[in-house]
């Protein structure tokens, strides 16, 4: 039990360091290279998709845990993973059907939460 807690503590530290570093890189792109935040978000998702295609994102998750699964790049990874799994399972049609296989849950949740928030909360100002 103590070992499990020790492991959990180490994984939290790794998540903090690696997730923080990704956000730091994003801030550098915004402040130093003057890339608009929306473009940085798109870049990050595309980067996640490319790394997933190269087979590098899974080993990255094994090391970084939530440091890899919480940043937006993970969205690119789950989209790619879904397409790849579907391609392998059902061939060419999987290219279209696979996209939302894993990522769909997060999108559905975001729509539901957005709807609830729009009903419950009023914007400030």
């Amino acid at each position: 039990m103590t070992l499990a807690w020790g492991e959990a503590a180490v994984s939290v530290v790794w998540a903090f360091l690696i997730g923080g570093t990704i956000c730091l890189i994003g801030q550098v792109l915004i402040d130093v290279f003057r890339i608009p935040p929306a473009h940085v978000m798109v870049l990050l998702v595309v980067a996640g998709a490319v790394l997933a295609g190269l087979g590098l994102y899974e080993p990255f998750i094994r090391v970084a845990g939530a440091g890899a699964t919480v940043p937006l790049s993970n969205f690119g990874y789950v989209l790619t993973r879904g397409v790849l799994d579907a391609l392998r399972r059902e061939g060419w049609f999987g290219l279209l059907t696979g996209v939302f296989e894993i990522a769909g849950g997060a999108l559905a949740a975001a729509v539901v939460f957005g709807f609830i928030a729009a009903l419950v909360f009023r914007p400030r100002g």
Binding site: G26, V45, G48, P71, A106, A117, A118, F121
Partner: protein, 177 residues
């Protein structure tokens, strides 16, 4: 302004330059460039310099903290007997819910002001980018306000994510099967 019409543009320009020189006046083109450079130098003085080091440190701390909280949720769900993939998916949904709630309460805007990219890049920022316009445009109606604007910020992310994912997965599939 069209100098010299369709023909002899070059020679007309040259003539204009010589004329200005003879008249002892600065070439208006050169003068315009000089003034533009002067203005740019002056504007740079008054342009607010974002405290770069501070921004970077807070992006790191805020983004890192959100990821650390995500890892805590993963550990919690794992201790309930879920697999790594299940636990990480549940943790992501939990963070989406938290990000939505904090956006609704107006707290996430404050986190974003301090954290910058550290607040925008984690999945809580994705929730914020959907909930925020949903609330803001609610008054313009459920269809053209709420529903039409829901993905106004997240839409590009989803669109390019899908296109990149299809290309990336297809190449991988063709190369390694």
């Amino acid at each position: 302004m069209e100098r010299g019409g369709r023909f002899h543009t070059k020679s007309a320009e040259l003539l204009a330059q010589v004329t200005w020189e003879v008249a002892g006046l600065p070439d208006p083109e050169e003068e315009r460039k000089r003034q533009a450079a002067e203005f740019a130098a002056l504007a740079a003085q008054y342009h607010p310099h974002p405290p770069l080091a501070r921004n970077l440190i807070f992006a790191f701390l805020v983004g890192g903290s959100i990821c650390a909280i995500g890892q805590l949720f993963i550990a919690l769900f794992q201790s309930l007997g879920m697999t790594d993939v299940q636990a990480s998916a549940r943790a992501s949904i939990t963070l989406l819910a938290l990000g939505s709630l904090l956006t609704g309460l107006g707290v996430y805007d404050e986190i974003g002001r301090v954290g910058g990219a550290g607040a925008a890049i984690p999945i809580t920022g994705f929730a914020n980018s959907i909930v925020s316009p949903a609330m803001e445009y609610r008054t313009e109606g459920l269809v053209f306000g709420f529903a039409a604007r829901l993905f106004s910020i997240a839409g590009p992310v989803v669109t390019f994510g899908i296109l990149a994912a299809m290309a990336s997965a297809l190449i991988r599939f063709l190369v390694t099967g």
